[in-house]
Amino acid sequence: MQKLLYITDQDEYVDHSFIAPLFEIYLKKHMRVDILYFTDFKSDFTCKDAHHFVVPTRYKNVLLNELKHNNIDLHSYDFVMVRNCIELMKHVLKYREKYHYKALYRFSFPKRKVQIKCNEAEGKNQFLKRCMHAIQTKNETKIINSCDAFLPTSREMHQNYRPEVTIPTIICSPAINPEALHQHQQHDGDELRFVYVGTLDKLREFGTILDAFSSLKSHAWKLYISTRDVEFVNILVKDYPDLQKHIKIYNAKTKDALLELIAKTDIGISLLPDLPVYNTSTPVKTFDYYSSGVPCLMTHSAHTSTIFTDGVDAWFSDFSKKNISEKLNYLLILSKEEIADIGQKGQNRLLEVKNYETIAKTIADQLKAL
């Protein structure tokens, strides 16, 4: 069996929503997988078990030497994959010939670009940062093209953010975990419960959604928000005093806690402004909602439109106060059974087309063919 070392730029304690099912369960059916995380706080290398390593960030630039120093057999790997960190990728490429592995670069999300967009949305001048970004992207592309394969989250992410990458590309998209589906819990309340989970910032224009909610005549609804950006939401919600009794803010610490929260609601919200960064993949929150059988109100994108059908297994809306408000009014007159039926159909649809089990097999086959 071939062996993969997956080096992620994430912290050891991060809630590995994407890694967990794909790398921990399904890819392991096709190859042996070791996963390496970093820690900003602990001083020494740790083997959590035979397949999980934690390395202090200060060793980032000498990572493979540190692994060797801790008796990790680098010759045993057929593939070494680096997530998002170009400096690490450079380091891994440097030793490719010595240890005879294929070097893979995983591009999960254009974080730097999004940060610039976010800052611009806050009115900050980003001219210099844009220039730097252009130069960095060019340099990074050169390094990625030295790898054996490129693993973006979607084809659109490749085309929009790394169009000049010409090496073999393997799509590594988020999906639904067939072994971790939560039963939807029908609540006793008379109100319709909406839920939004995930990051909230200026770029996501959540105010537009709150504007739509504030225009509703019905009061038979609640909006649950789970985000790490609690402070941002608190400030935002202050501008909507009439909505405050309808909104509950959470900061679910673990994936389980998040799915438990979602399972107690009726409809998930995945409404995002029409920006390329949000159109290049299906938001992870969508998979979280459907994992609990909760249907989703979402915006159109190249991705969502090919998976879901409006009124059958999801609902679509343009990202405008008027459109969202109309859709919310429509949803408020649906019965709980009708809503649950849409959720079930959406879950089935994802199991059919976006399933970690099949995605892992495709990735493994493509890796073996390199």
Partner: protein
């Protein structure tokens, strides 16, 4: 006295350095082995006048529960050695005399640290079952000064905080007094021929043809021994270099200073989450057992070109021990090119500059106590020691923690910066095993384990 020369004293084992590490080894050898004769040479007029002295360190038992830079594996090891300190003190009824219980905690400030502390608690609670996770409400009760922005305690700090801690454990030791206790008990429990010489500075050690060692002292006295252990802080490396050992190492002496509050301030020890790039403990606040439990904030970290603080000289020794070459330049370059370390070094330099030091230090310490002001603290004159951080020239990196040189020929050299005091009995156990093996002595391991381990 040796048979051939009545002016030379001979011992089977000779320890150089009467700090906590040397005293611990003296005790273990005397009590648990059948060593025939034992000697300890101390440069100054008493035991522990340098880094083991209570005013030179934080007086903390670093067991690994709130030391956020420790991995679980490391904590398992330090727990065993730290418990030895506790067991020793309890064995001789030294609790509440030189060993004390204080509340202690590691405080996470901000989303990232809070997330880390919460997860670390889950990971470590099995090893340290007494640990508790304290949220803001609990902290208001236990250590209100870390919660509030103002002295009147009306406004809560805006960033999220959480702590892991305990108030049931022994946390604090006067390591200077413990050195004294170790040596006294060694003399009491053992009938072997043992001596301690003060004001005896070893300047050179030579290995003779018969494999024994000859130690030359500044006062022209001579000692010989079959086995030598050098536990002399930064001077361990200095003496090793003179014998041609440990040339791949250099020593970077880091001085730590403290600031003291005017009165009782914090209820217990408050440590912060540590940056793993820095080889020193993050700023913390400790109730000082020498100063009526006033809170001592620190330590700072300043590179000093000398090996001993508050003592004359040792500048030349520093340059010799640094063992300067291009590898050292490379280590400094690598350290300073990291902005976190660069800023830390620069900031700590400013902490020593009169007039501006206090204001700058308060800015940093506000992470622990947001309402802290310059009026609350004063520079703790005479407090603070030197941590001999070791530079590994082969790996071209600054080593964290302790280092030991064992050439395998009957001599050991130990450099034991923090947490060296906590692990003194554990390190002594390690060295004792080497000695016993080398000299073919008996070692009462059963008794040792019964006395000092859980």
């Amino acid at each position: 006295m040796t048979k051939n020369n009545p002016h030379i004293r001979h011992y089977q084992i000779l320890i150089v350095g009467g700090g906590i590490s040397g005293s611990a080894l003296f005790y273990e050898l005397a009590k648990y082995t059948n060593v025939s004769s034992l000697c300890l040479l101390e440069k100054y007029e008493a035991l522990s006048t340098l880094n083991s002295k209570a005013s030179s360190n934080s007086q903390t038992i670093h067991i690994g529960d709130i030391e956020t830079n420790y991995t679980l594996d490391k904590a398992k090891i330090t727990k065993r050695t730290a418990k030895m300190v506790e067991k020793f003190c309890l064995q001789y009824d030294l609790q509440d005399k030189i060993m004390f219980k204080h509340q202690k905690m590691a405080l996470g400030v901000g989303e990232k640290e809070v997330h880390f502390i919460e997860n670390r608690y889950e990971e470590f609670k099995e090893l340290f079952p007494y640990l508790e996770l304290w949220d803001v409400e609990k902290l208001k009760e236990l250590e209100p000064k870390v919660v509030y922005l103002d002295k009147a305690q009306t406004k809560i700090r805006p960033e999220p905080i959480v702590a892991i801690g305990t108030n049931t454990q022994y946390t604090t030791v006067d390591y200077g007094a413990m050195s004294q206790a170790l040596v006294e008990q060694a003399k009491t429990v053992s009938t072997i021929d043992s001596d301690i010489f003060f004001n005896t500075q070893v300047t050179d050690i030579y290995q003779k043809d018969d494999k024994s060692f000859e130690l030359h002292c500044q006062d022209d006295s001579l000692f010989t021994a079959d086995f030598v252990v050098v536990n002399a802080g930064a001077h361990s490396l200095f003496l090793a270099h003179r014998m041609g050992y440990g040339k791949h190492m250099g020593c970077l002496p880091m001085a730590g200073s403290f600031y003291m509050t005017q009165s009782h301030f914090l209820n217990g020890k408050v440590y912060m989450v540590q940056n793993n790039k820095l080889p020193f403990a993050a700023l913390h606040g400790d109730p000082d057992i020498l100063a009526d439990e006033k809170t001592r904030f620190g330590p700072t970290a300043l590179m000093l070109p000398k090996l001993e603080r508050y003592k004359k000289g040792t500048y030349l020794d520093f340059f010799k021990t640094l063992n300067f070459d291009w590898h050292i330049v490379k280590i400094f370059w690598d350290l300073l090119k990291d902005s976190d370390i660069r800023n830390y070094v620069f900031k700590n330099f400013l902490f020593e500059v009169p007039l501006i030091n206090k204001g700058l230090f308060v800015q940093d310490a506000k992470k622990i106590v947001p309402s802290l002001s310059v009026e609350d603290i004063s520079y703790a004159h005479g407090f603070g020691g030197i941590r001999p951080q070791v530079l590994d020239k082969n790996k071209e990196e600054l080593l964290l923690g302790e280092a030991s040189i064992n050439p395998g020929c009957g001599i050991l050299f130990n450099m034991t910066p923090s947490p060296g005091a906590t692990s003194c009995l554990g390190n002594a156990e390690r060295d004792m095993k080497v000695i016993v093996d080398y000299l073919g002595l008996d070692y009462d391991e059963e008794r040792f384990l019964a006395d000092l381990t859980e």
